[in-house]
Symmetry: C2
């Protein structure tokens, strides 16, 4: 069953202690769909400018990603540049040019509307809700947000969250959305906002999943070299929901097996870890499903007791 | 088989966002031995002053801790005071009065020397080595250290580490001991210094164990309230080595089951988490082995996939 992904497709300039790239393919929708493409058929909804390179279209197409919803508008593609700190736990945004993304009004192609899985990347919450309303009867809807919307568009975000099955954010976002510094209490408040499942990403420290009174926690994968963490959170989202789509998972099924959700968190962690091994999306040029399954088994080995 | 614990027994003054205590029982040896006492017979080697209260002796004795090696010297007991930040991830030392601890020359009572397990709390590395040399043929020797010794007594520490089976430190100590910011590379360098096993404590983010080419990682327990993190790292050490002693574990056994080491890390995490639930050692006044085993099973539930 197919996954529809909505969000930014961008060009990024990134500097890490390992080097500097002046222009590379980026954007949440790009990372999410590349990661998810290893698990399920993916269709994207995004906008790019006239400068969007054929080689980048070809990369997405090489992963069999449906590009019918990739709109091309007059002007330039969204551009972001940032610089990471020496330990790569912090980054500074140097430049953000929204360009064609400023007027993005996501429209689902008719062929997407009956699909079962919808992942809404981090865009303005009213737009996220409008996309969800274009789907006929999705089995699983969820997405990401950021402090900019939590602080500046709180009412719209809360309205949007009522229609989501899962929310996927990082720990600082969970704290500001809930107003609780303790993550267990923060999760309880967020689960009262609508989503039945909350996934909290903690960067190098791993991830947590909360659902009802139960929770699941996994540590981060120990990489020997982090080349570029850009996109790791989005790849996590892609692996998480991609795996659920592969399983035909229905969060509203009263008999669902929670272990499938736990394994989805592991697949998210696996994809996030691969993302950091090269600059930008480069790791996805060679990554195979066998490598993914191998790392999943490695997670099992280093967490079993 | 009995565990011998060497280190400080102290009085602490602590301020956390939950309150302030002007004088409470503390010290690495105290926390380690209380935690380990749930798993094995413990004997301690430490020094206290004339002000050491009978109630505190009674607490240790109530856990069947052998106090033959608890020396009482003229003067006052080691005193430390500190204040935690609002998120409790940082603490500031306000006062350190070594008092009788300044001249501590740990001597093992004759009845301790043939015991099998030795845990050396964080004291000057030459003293740690001298204690180890008083044991006849211990099955398992290890301990803790801190940046003060890593930076200031490096040669002595490296000599001491050659005689240890395991080292138990936190992530910033692992980075400064190895000179490597990446923990996987840091671990490889430290394992070349002598110990065959390295445990790295990461506070709220859990712990890692490295041994040969394999490793084990566990996330931290999600507490809803952290009252006072003082002693949590020492309780981790006590749970870790206490469980190994309970199992009669021999790190040098060529056929050892590495899962026992993983479970020891879980028991360390369990004891560290209980420690944070009340001020100082208060949680150990009521804690039962059934609660410990219950939390161990909880770790299994929230990490299984």
């Amino acid at each position: 069953m197919s996954l529809i992904v909505v969000g930014s497709v961008a060009y990024d300039a990134v500097e890490t202690p390992h080097g500097r790239i002046d222009r590379m393919l980026g954007g949440a929708c790009t990372y999410i769909s590349l990661a998810a493409s290893y698990y399920t058929k993916v269709g994207i909804v995004a906008v790019v400018g006239e400068d969007f390179a054929q080689a980048d279209v070809d990369l997405l197409a090489s992963r069999a990603i449906d590009l019918e919803g990739l709109e091309r508008a007059p002007g330039k593609t969204f551009f972001w540049s940032g610089k990471y700190s020496d330990d790569m736990n912090d980054r500074e945004t140097l430049q953000t040019d929204l360009n064609v993304f400023a007027d993005f009004q996501p429209k689902l192609p008719a062929s997407y509307r009956a699909e079962s899985y919808l992942l809404l990347g981090n865009i303005q919450p009213d737009l996220q809700r409008a996309v969800r309303d274009q789907m006929t009867n999705p089995r699983l809807v969820g997405g990401d947000t950021m402090n900019y919307w939590i602080d500046g568009s709180r009412a719209a975000l809360l309205e949007t969250l009522k229609g989501w099955d899962f929310l996927l954010i990082n720990d600082s976002e969970a704290r500001s959305l809930s107003g609780e510094s303790n993550l267990k209490r923060a999760a309880r408040k967020i689960l009262d906002m609508g989503p039945s499942t909350l996934v909290v990403k903690r960067g190098e420290y791993g991830a947590m999943l909360f659902r009802g009174d139960s929770y699941f926690v996994v540590p981060g994968y120990l990489l020997e070299e982090v080349f570029d963490p850009t996109g790791a959170g989005d790849c996590f989202a892609g692996g998480f929901v991609g795996y659920l789509a592969q399983c035909g998972f229905d969060l509203r099924d009263p008999n669902l097996d929670p272990k499938i959700l736990h394994r989805a968190v592991i697949h998210g962690s696996v994809m996030g870890s691969f993302c950091c091994e090269k600059f930008g999306v480069d790791r996805f040029r060679t990554l195979t499903r066998a490598e993914i399954d191998g790392r999943f088994e490695e997670f099992r080995r280093f967490t079993e007791f």
